[in-house]
């Protein structure tokens, strides 16, 4: 069964450094998403991406964040200058066109900012 993959599984970085989290969505999917889950809290929507542009973003997704689909298969989330509060599990998700609206989630990347 096709699945969403994410790399790395765990990333440790120092405050102020840039990080890129990578995702490979399911190949025929057209809608892509990033979510994050701070330890002990609920999963929160960050951004959706369709037709090579951001379609919706949350208040969390400020200028420090960017997304890109550089080569038609990968989908990346970049944090330009990480803060301690960016430490979280980041999930990528994708879905196909039209219904049934089910998003498939990757296993997540745990980002630790020290």
């Amino acid at each position: 069964e096709p699945e969403v993959t994410q790399t790395p599984s765990h990333q440790v970085t120092q405050m102020g450094q840039e990080v890129i989290l990578r995702c490979v969505p399911i190949s025929n999917h057209l809608y892509f998403y990033w979510y994050r889950q701070i330890l002990g809290q609920k999963v929160e929507f960050l951004v959706s991406f369709y037709n090579n542009e951001i379609s919706e973003k949350s208040e969390i997704f400020d200028d420090q964040f960017s997304v890109e689909r550089p080569d038609g298969s990968n989908f990346t989330l970049k944090i330009r200058s990480t803060k301690l509060e960016d430490s979280a599990m980041y999930f990528c998700a994708s879905r196909g066109a039209g219904g049934p609206y089910e998003q498939y989630f990757g296993p997540g990347t745990r980002l630790t900012v020290t």
């Binding site: 998403y33 809290q41 379609s55 879905r95 998003q103 989630f105 296993p107």
Partner: protein, 114 residues
């Protein structure tokens, strides 16, 4: 804006006992509803989903959920819990318009005792 409430943060049940996890949603139109499960250190696995039709939906691992519009609820049930069901369970609603971001509840952590 859509929202999901899971009133029980932690639930402990004995192995073999029945289980019901509560979920209430707030959404103006017909919601698309999901239950996801997250084992420790793992990603989000879809248990079941409701879009329309029969209000009792069956999912994987013996779970079922019932959509009750009058109560704005989508409770998850299992007749006999196994130790391997210990995990965190998230109820979620999808925005049926726009680009369909998922809004998650805070989650219910299930502990199974022998």
């Amino acid at each position: 804006a859509q929202s999901v409430t899971q009133p029980d943060i932690h639930i402990t049940v004995s192995e073999g006992a029945s289980l019901e996890l509560r979920c209430n949603y707030s959404y103006g139109a017909t919601p698309y509803l999901f239950w996801y499960v997250q084992s420790p250190g793992q990603g989000l696995q879809l248990l079941l989903k409701y879009f329309s039709g029969d209000t009792l939906v069956q999912g994987i691992k013996g779970f079922e959920a019932e959509f009750k519009r009058s109560q704005s609820s989508f409770n998850l049930r299992k007749p006999s819990v196994h130790w391997s069901d210990a995990a965190e369970y998230f109820c979620a609603v999808v925005d049926s318009g726009g680009y369909q971001k998922v809004t998650f509840g805070i989650g219910t952590k299930l502990q199974v005792i022998p």
